[in-house]
Point group: C2
Chain length 492, copies 2
């Protein structure tokens, strides 16, 4: 059950507000295992909707789900040189396959005789094991393209963890595709970025900037990484999804060639793309407020909650005669509705709980409403209440759910636009980066300059945006020529 | 792409037939990691339907999904004495959290400085980590019941593995519930067994026997294990799902008490229940034949395949004018249909492929059919073909899909009944157990007798069935009194 001690306000301590909200809204909590979280039923219900919406979109693009092993032989990680640098270091290593009773009688200990010949790594990402598999699946151009995705857990041994944002174990999907041509692979990577952007904006109500990563921020082993970047309420950037054009790197590492229709052997072209439970963090930090979670209706496990206000059973019965048919009607329209007629807690307690949990619309009806043919409607996004006619209530609800979805998207977009500014000099940059937001700046295109800027300010290039002003200029740091402005920000 | 070398017939080598079928029908294959499988897209599509059907049934019972950590502290496993004996021994042990570049330049090696203080075990099942979590969730009777499920991967270090049937890593769901009373927990365990049985029979078309396990076959840590047992085509038993009444064992191990509504502290009552990708093995071995997979329509990723027979483009165009609207109509009815108009392979090759993959209904239409207003229908279950009128074809298909579903269930049930026999003496038992099937025998109820019978014949008690003859008798082995017949069989 949710706890109703007030949340620390965002203005007081944004980070503390976030940590408290995740736990109090019953989304997730720390587990007994360092850095690994428990995703609680309410949080998981949101994740399930995210999964269902994405999965449907993937399948529309011809992607099929599959499952590849959790464990990766250590030697596989060394095959792709950049990949091992990026991922293999901080990871969970399985060295033994058996425990035995402690000879001293204290529980169980590792059996020293059960050491593995080669250590196994819990997947931090699956390019290596998947390309070792694709080698067996691909021999001719007829076998291409392969468009696979898997929903699974992965593990990266992070030292500083935060629920959803950075955890040792997290859930994600990873798509891995194999193509006959470079162009097809590049297009597919771009297509999946569009899928992510569309999903983020339409379902999560999170406005995103699509762009390409600078070399410093590229996925280890990729030729190009595309990303969608979102701005959180504290003005920091959060990378909400990435899609990688991997070139022929993994095909070469695992010797995956195919016979073209001109009877020549060529290496296969690859993409990979993923989003994770990190999206839950983005969701929370984009919309929520000091009263708790604010959920877009398209993702809310409960879209509408109906609370009858009563003292005695006959009052409840009279109210339910109106409210039960309403709930049924809403369910038939595919609206996720819950009626809370419990007498264990007060209406005030219920209201606070549904506010904390971000239920978009709350309906309350008491004796006077019944007499007047009215019902009280409370919107979570604006925290406004109004008493409306019970006639047409279904239509009112349908319209309001759409309106709330649009409103929180627009609010987030307005916030991003208001906190995005052009910066033209290094002096200005050093001041502006201390304030929240995205800085649009010219950059000379070199990793060295990005490194220096990061070292001095902690800001990184979030992406080189696809859209927007393409006027050339001069790098804020070196004064060298720049082809277009890029987004600098402090990032999660 | 599937390979069309003929399968080894079941009569020649059942085990070889199974192994070949799994690979050739594109269901799964061995990975580069010992004992871990790759579930290929076609196999995974079947698993997704299994998941969706079960998940819906769980939610109807009030169960909510959640996610608990992959890794379990070693010490947790020692808390429940039987549990550690049953599970902790053969498991993947994580001992380190970092790799480093090999000082000798050969790839990467384990960093000896990154040894974990306490080793972590990849979950073989999650009772311990979940009950350590429930401790924080439960304080009063108001917090009960908790009905959680998770879909995840688990790992048991099996020495002899077979695709789907016994793999080191497998996918499953594990439900874990917490209740205020013994009766409620026992009832819930029984309810979930009913859910499994209903699903197995209605969706998978696998007839099952519901019953309780003998103490020898009980889950490590349970007071009672209920199971559904199915008979494979070779007469062996396969446990298709289990539901455990765990009593207060895990609540006591992790000190999970609650305040009753009479203001007393009591330990919480528990159940757990699971089915796994092993069901894929049961599915294959219940229905399939020497031509390949036979799928029940309710689980088939493709329920109907439509193949136009043509030589030239104009012939194809004429056929598609009829077939495209048919496919659309079927889709609108929720039927999973695929039109295969590719000219890369011959119709004969296509027919063999869809047979191998177990597509329940195949429709083929050529020029003569077009003239006559007919279409050819081929049933996978009976391998029969007939030419029928194109009018009413939608209704014909709907009826046939139902008929196929019923037919393969009935066929499997008839097979089980024909191969289940009462055995009354030890001499008879030793002969009969050499033949395929279930033996209904009296047993004196002691683990010792079961052990001796197993040692002499490899047969085990699959379950003490809930339904059927309850006449008392005398144990086939000891002659001691027995309350009812139990099922002995050789098991997978």
């Amino acid at each position: 059950m949710a706890s109703f001690q007030k949340l620390t306000p965002r203005a007081t301590d944004y980070s503390k507000w976030y940590n408290e909200l995740v736990v109090k809204a019953d989304l997730a909590e720390q587990s007994a295992v360092r850095g690994c979280m428990v995703i609680k039923p309410y949080g998981y219900a949101i994740w399930e909707t995210i999964q269902a919406e994405l999965d449907r979109r993937f399948k529309e693009k011809g992607v099929k789900n599959a499952y590849f092993p959790l464990l990766i032989p250590k030697s596989f990680l060394s095959r792709e040189a950049e990949h091992v640098e990026g991922f293999a270091k901080e990871c969970a290593v399985v060295t033994h396959h058996r425990l035995m009773n402690d000879p001293e009688g204290k529980g169980v200990v590792v059996d020293p005789n059960a050491r593995l010949e080669e250590e196994l790594i819990i997947r931090p990402t699956s390019e290596t094991i998947i390309w070792s598999t694709y080698k067996n699946w691909i021999s001719s151009y007829r076998d291409l393209p392969i468009l696979c995705n898997q929903w699974c857990n992965v593990m990266r041994w992070e030292m500083r963890t935060r629920l959803f944002l950075r955890t040792a174990e997290f859930l994600w999907q990873e798509g891995h595709t194999a193509h006959a041509t470079k162009e097809e692979a590049e297009n597919f990577a771009a297509t999946m970025l569009d899928v992510y952007a569309d999903f983020a904006e339409k379902v999560m109500a999170i406005p995103v900037v699509k762009g390409v990563k600078s070399p410093n921020e590229r996925f280890a082993g990729a030729l190009n990484t595309y990303s969608i970047e979102a701005m959180m309420q504290d003005g920091k950037a959060l990378q909400a999804g990435t899609s990688h054009f991997l070139g022929q790197n993994f095909a070469k590492s695992f010797d995956v060639q195919f016979l073209t229709n001109e009877n020549k052997y060529e290496y296969v072209w690859a993409t990979s793309w993923g989003v994770s439970t990190r999206l839950m963090g983005a969701l929370i930090m984009t919309h929520s407020d000091d009263n708790g979670l604010v959920l877009p209706p398209n993702l809310a496990p409960i879209q509408v909650v109906i609370v009858p206000i009563f003292k005695k059973q006959d009052q409840l019965d009279a109210l339910m005669e109106k409210l039960n048919p309403l709930a049924d009607q809403l369910k038939q329209l595919g609206i996720r509705v819950q009626v809370d007629a419990s007498d264990k807690t007060t209406p005030g307690f219920k209201f606070a709980e549904y506010e904390l949990k971000g239920v978009p619309l709350r309906l309350a009806m008491g004796g006077r409403d019944l007499e007047n043919g009215t019902i009280e409607l409370a919107r979570r996004d604006t925290m406004t209440k109004e008493t409306v006619s019970f006639d047409n209530i279904v239509e009112t609800i349908q319209n309001l759910l759409k309106e709330i979805q649009d409103n929180i998207y627009q609010k987030a977009l307005d916030f991003r636009l208001a906190n995005t500014r052009e910066v033209n000099t290094w002096e200005e940059f050093k001041e502006e980066i201390k304030k929240p937001g995205f800085l649009l700046c010219h950059w000379d295109g070199t990793p060295e300059t990005e490194e220096k800027i990061k070292a001095e300010t902690k800001a990184t290039i979030r992406c080189i945006p696809f859209e927007g002003d393409k006027t050339p200029g001069q790098c804020i740091y070196t004064g060298k020529p720049s082809t277009q402005r890029v987004i600098f920000a402090i990032a999660y």
